[in-house]
């Protein structure tokens, strides 16, 4: 019901699930999300009780630990109303696609997971699919060159494929350069990056070589895990290239056009 309402009426107010990584490592991404949404006239609430969605433990096989953290997430967000915006495909997919698996033996929790899952929108998905043409109000402009990395869970788990590119194409002055194999994983994969360090590194090297070949000054991506992974590799290489969350790029572009 809430979901249908969101489709028909332009929401005035959203709940922000900022994710544990943004909160702790990349708070500026969260600030950019708020800036962009507020520029579009949307009131952003931040439910203070939030922590993590539970994905790290879930993906490592520790479902009992993950389920408790997921219950906490549901406690926090089921007490709110309206769309929940998350600047991460991976965390969005965890709630929308995998909470059901985790609570398959618990009908009450399953019901709650479904209710909350239907309210979840990844940031670019919300901008394009829910707000639609309203985004042109931002008058985006940025003098830069960028290339887009397709984060796996955003692309394949949530099916958010065209939305980020559509947004980036609306930024005047931003030259988007195509990356060879932009659809191939950067090798992050959560604890995979630590447990299978050498395999993960080989994947990252391929990704960073392909990104470097574009000569773009910025790699744009939509998930903080992948961003930290690529940024960590770029920093180690001493590369000039930077990797940024799409919310930061849009925020900059919106600021650029009004200043």
């Amino acid at each position: 019901m809430t979901d249908q309402l969101a489709q028909k009426q332009r929401p005035q107010r959203v709940q922000l699930f900022v994710t544990c990584l943004v909160d702790q490592f990349k708070p500026e991404v969260g600030e950019s999300v708020v800036n962009v949404l507020e520029r579009l006239g949307i009131r952003v609430d931040f439910p203070e009780g939030q922590t993590c969605c539970g994905q790290p433990a879930f993906n490592s096989g520790f479902r009992n630990d993950a389920a408790q953290v997921a219950r906490h997430f549901l406690d926090v967000f089921d007490a709110t109303e309206g769309p929940i915006v998350v600047p991460s495909g991976s965390c969005g997919a965890m709630v929308r696609n995998y909470y059901g698996d985790m609570f398959e033996d618990d009908p009450a929790e399953m019901e709650r997971a479904k209710r909350v899952g239907e309210r979840i929108y990844e940031f670019t998905e919300f901008l394009v699919d829910v707000l639609g043409e309203d985004i042109s109000a931002l008058g985006l402009e940025l003098d830069d060159t960028a290339t887009y990395h397709q984060c796996c869970h955003l692309e394949r788990e949530l099916g958010v494929d065209h939305q980020p590119r559509e947004l980036l194409e609306q930024v005047k002055g931003l030259e988007m350069l195509p990356m060879y194999r932009s659809e191939v994983c950067c090798g992050f994969g959560g604890t995979f990056s630590v447990k299978f360090s050498d395999v993960s590194t080989a994947m990252l090297d391929e990704k960073l070589d392909n990104a470097a070949a574009t000569r773009a000054s910025t790699i744009v991506a939509g998930d903080t895990g992948c961003i930290m992974h690529m940024a960590g590799g770029l920093h180690r290489r001493g590369s000039e290239q930077q990797v940024r969350h799409i919310a930061e790029v849009l925020d900059d572009a919106a600021t650029g056009s009004t200043d």
Partner: protein
């Protein structure tokens, strides 16, 4: 071949350090994967066909005993013999006994992954029966004494130079080094063997229950030689390789071949309906169909893993997988490498031994995206990870430290105040060791990260603090 799934990490490290293999594996993505993507895009209703393919597999596997009985009855009616083998040893024994009984000296084989499960060629050589692989790729790895590297391209990891060198050692003559020259050399060596073979062992891409037919999909023509020249033909199949009807077959062939090589149809599609009949001039005197379980019942009985039996062995998930392309086929330690191997091999070898495999994935989902029957491989890997982490003691492979680590993580995430203080504490404790907010070297387990990447320090002012301040300032 016995599964050796415990050596994944060592195999991966060796493969990563091998520039020839790394170069060869590029072809897997640039060739097979790209061709598969183009073939899908050029096929009207491609996604609907995949859905229909999946529906056929769902239906067949849900009624497997029914269709296996139907198949067996129809093979029998066609004049063939059927043997159900509970495991690879029983399958080998049946075929070896048959070979001895029929006084077989030379066996020719066409590509069959199930016969790799049985190490059939080795078993035959061990009892003095000459067994020759006739698929070019299989022939190359047989000469090299290796296991297949890829489901449809077993010798993909070998360079042309390496192949030329092996052929030279075998024949004593310089075979040249272009792919054409090498193929002509192999063809010459194999042709003579075809003519004197008295038995063939082939795989089965599909078995059609309603007609008792077996179907082979090949590009080299060797399969057809195998099914028509020797006097005894033995086809071996995994028990899941069954479709109810000829109509279902046509749908499955469409999606299998496009997914495997990007072709619309392979050079040969061979259907065998039992041994030669009285009015026919060619074909074997005897036809045997060996249907192998070898652990497949374990997949069938687990609703979480059952869809692994929908696999058509097209290899598309390998081609799409960024991990497979780096670690290669042998690291997975058994016949089936790549994403589907990471599901199937640990189940068949025992999860404790193969506990690394379900974790050897970034869960990027490229496998699921390209699978012709949409097998949810990431979800099955997650299920197996859960078995390793929290399952019964016979499958559990998680360490005590790791279990404690996740308990601590859970504790830290159950209250936002605790979570916030944890971050601040990490920032405070880490600050003296970080430079420009980045760590260059950390102790285990994070040393795995800092081996090649810098890790940022947690922030001193988390988003939640910034947001609060923002609201206090009355913004928004």
């Amino acid at each position: 071949m016995l599964p050796k799934t415990e050596n994944f990490k060592r195999g991966a490290a060796e493969t990563l350090a091998d520039p020839i293999i790394q170069e060869s594996m590029e072809a897997v993505y640039n060739g097979f994967h790209t061709n598969r993507q183009s073939a899908g895009a050029a096929t009207e209703g491609w996604d609907d066909q995949r859905d229909r393919g999946r529906a056929i597999k769902e239906h067949t596997i849900a009624n497997l005993d029914y269709y296996l009985n139907m198949l067996a009855d129809n093979v029998d009616a066609n004049g063939g013999n059927v043997f159900f083998a509970p495991d690879s040893a029983a399958a080998s024994e049946y075929i070896l006994n048959l070979a001895r009984d029929r006084d077989v000296k030379t066996v020719i084989k066409s590509k069959s992954m199930v016969s790799e499960e049985m190490s059939l060629a080795h078993e035959m050589e061990a009892v003095g029966i000459e067994a020759v692989e006739t698929d070019l790729g299989e022939y190359i790895i047989q000469l090299a004494g290796e296991a297949p590297y890829h489901i449809i391209a077993p010798a993909i990891h070998k360079s042309q130079d390496q192949v030329a060198e092996m052929f030279k050692e075998t024949t004593g003559v310089d075979p040249g080094d272009t792919p054409e020259e090498l193929t002509i050399t192999a063809r010459g060596m194999l042709r003579e063997t075809f003519q004197r073979a008295d038995m063939s062992v082939t795989g089965v891409n599909f078995a059609v229950a309603e007609s008792g037919s077996i179907v082979l999909v090949t590009n080299e023509g060797n399969g057809r030689m195998c099914t028509s020249i020797p006097r005894v033909h033995v086809a071996v199949m995994g028990m899941e390789k069954i479709v109810p009807s000829i109509q279902d077959l046509s749908m499955m062939l469409r999606i299998l071949i496009r997914s495997a090589t990007g072709q619309r149809i392979s050079s040969y599609v061979t259907m065998v309906n039992g041994p030669r009949r009285d009015e026919e001039e060619d074909g074997p005197e005897e036809f045997h169909l060996v249907i192998v379980d070898n652990g497949r019942m374990r997949l069938l009985e687990d609703p979480k893993l059952r869809e692994a039996l929908y696999c058509l062995r097209c290899g598309a998930c390998l081609n799409a997988c960024p991990v497979y392309r780096k670690v290669g086929g042998h690291s997975y330690g058994w016949v089936y490498p790549g994403p589907i191997g990471a599901v199937v091999s640990p189940v068949l070898s025992g999860l404790k031994q193969g506990k690394d495999l379900p974790f050897a994935s970034s869960l990027c989902g490229a496998c699921k995206e390209v699978c012709p029957v949409r097998i949810d491989i990431p979800n099955m890997l997650l299920h197996l990870r859960n078995e390793v982490a929290e399952g019964p003691s016979e499958s559990r492979g998680s360490g005590r430290m790791e279990r404690l680590g996740w308990k601590a993580w859970r504790f830290g995430n159950m209250k936002s105040g605790r979570f916030r203080r944890g971050g601040k504490m990490a920032n405070f404790l880490g600050r003296p060791f970080a430079r420009d907010g980045m760590f260059r070297r950390l102790p285990p387990p994070l040393s795995g990260w800092t081996r090649s990447r810098d890790l940022p320090l947690t922030t001193s002012t988390p988003f939640r603090d910034r947001f609060k301040k923002r609201r206090q300032r009355g913004e928004g």
